[in-house]
C-alpha cells in the first residue's frame, strides 16, 4: 500500500499534463484513505476519501478550467530548491529517530490522556464511537475552533473570488457602457 502511495507521488511529480496530475492526486488520496483503513483509523479514512479524493479533485479541476492545462517549463535552476528540500527532509528523518516505535505501549499517545478518555467515556458519555465522544465532548473547544477555521476559510475564499468576479463584471459593464 505504501509502495503504491510512493509510486503515485513520483508519477505526480513527473507528469506535465495538469489534468493527469489532478486525477493522480485523487488516486493518491484514495490510496492514503485505504492506508488509514488498514491502520484502523476509519474516521480519518472517511474524511480523506471524501475531501481528498472527492472535493479537492473537483476544485482542482475547476481551477484548471480557469487557467491552462499544461505546466509551464520552469526557467530557473532547480539546485537551490533541491538543496532546501533535502536539508528539510534530512531534518525530518533525524527527528523521527527519537520517536517511539509504531504501536509501542509506552509512547506518549498511549500513556497521556487517551487512556483516561477510553476508560471514562463509557461512564461519562455512553457512546459506542469513542472518536465522536472525544471530538465533540471532551475536546469540544477544539472542534469549535476547527469549525470556526472552516468558517473563516470559506468566508476568505468567498471574499477573494466573488469580490474579484464582481470587480471584473463592473469593469465589463463600464466598458460596454462606454461603447
Amino acid at each position: 500500500m505504501f509502495t503504491l502511495l510512493v509510486v503515485t507521488a513520483v508519477a505526480v511529480v513527473r507528469m506535465r499534463s495538469l489534468f493527469a496530475v489532478a486525477m493522480l492526486s485523487g488516486v493518491f488520496s484514495l490510496v492514503s484513505a485505504l492506508l488509514f483503513v488498514t491502520l484502523d483509523a476509519v474516521d480519518v479514512a472517511f474524511t480523506e476519501a471524501a475531501v481528498g479524493a472527492g472535493i479537492s479533485t473537483v476544485l482542482v479541476l475547476g481551477t484548471l478550467a480557469l487557467t491552462s492545462r499544461f505546466e509551464k517549463p520552469s526557467t530557473h535552476s532547480p539546485i537551490l530548491p533541491l538543496f532546501v528540500v533535502i536539508v528539510t527532509g534530512a531534518a525530518l528523518i533525524y527527528g523521527t529517530l527519537d520517536m517511539p516505535n509504531f504501536g509501542s505501549a509506552d509512547s506518549p499517545t498511549q500513556t497521556h490522556v487517551a487512556a483516561a478518555y477510553l476508560e471514562n467515556s463509557v461512564e461519562d458519555i455512553d457512546l459506542p464511537n469513542v472518536v465522536t465522544a472525544i471530538l465533540a465532548s471532551y475536546r469540544g473547544y477544539d472542534t469549535l475552533g476547527e469549525t470556526a477555521v472552516v468558517f473563516a476559510a470559506g468566508i476568505g475564499v468567498l471574499l477573494l473570488i466573488s469580490g474579484l468576479h464582481r470587480r471584473r463584471k463592473d469593469e465589463n459593464d463600464e466598458e460596454s457602457g462606454e461603447d
Partner: protein
C-alpha cells in the same frame, strides 16, 4: 454535459442515495464511524455532482447561494449557541450535562447531536460555497479542449 445521457440518469439515481448516506453518517456518527465533518463533505459532494452533471444554474435553483451563505454562519452559531445555552443553565461552556441534569450521559448525547449538526451544516455550506465560487467564474477553456 447535455449529451451524456448515462451520466445524467446515473447521477439522478445517485444524488438521493448520497444525501441519504450523508444523513446516515451525520446522525449515526455517534454509533459508527463518521460525524459532522464527514457528513458535511458527503452532502456537499451530492450537490457538487448535481452541479457538474446538470449545470450550475440548476443546482443553484435547488440550493441558492444566499441560503448557502446563511448556512455557513448558522452552523457555527448552532455550535457556539449550544455552549451558551449550557452556560445559562449554570454549567460550564459546552458542558452538555446541563441539558438533562439528572442523567448527564443523556445530555451528552443531545449536546453531541446538536454540535455535530452545527459542524455538518457549516462544512456543507463552505464546500458548496467554494464550489459555487470556482464554478461561477467564466471558464477560459472550452469543453472540447479537455
Amino acid at each position: 454535459m447535455r449529451h451524456h445521457l448515462i451520466l445524467r440518469v446515473v447521477t439522478k439515481l445517485l444524488v438521493g442515495t448520497i444525501m441519504l448516506f450523508a444523513f446516515y453518517v451525520q446522525f449515526h456518527g455517534d454509533f459508527s464511524p463518521g460525524g459532522g465533518f464527514q457528513a458535511g463533505v458527503i452532502m456537499a459532494a451530492a450537490f457538487i455532482i448535481y452541479g457538474i452533471v446538470f449545470s450550475l444554474g440548476t443546482v443553484q435553483k435547488v440550493f441558492p447561494p444566499w441560503l448557502v451563505h446563511k448556512l455557513i454562519a448558522l452552523g457555527v452559531l448552532l455550535y457556539a449557541g449550544t455552549g451558551i445555552v449550557s452556560m445559562f443553565l449554570g454549567y460550564a461552556y459546552l458542558d452538555y450535562g446541563a441539558f438533562t441534569p439528572d442523567h448527564p450521559s443523556h445530555g451528552q448525547h443531545y449536546g453531541i447531536f446538536v454540535v455535530e449538526l452545527g459542524v455538518g451544516i457549516t462544512v456543507t455550506g463552505v464546500m458548496v460555497a467554494i464550489y459555487y465560487a470556482f464554478a461561477g467564474r467564466p471558464p477560459r477553456m472550452s469543453d472540447e479542449e479537455w
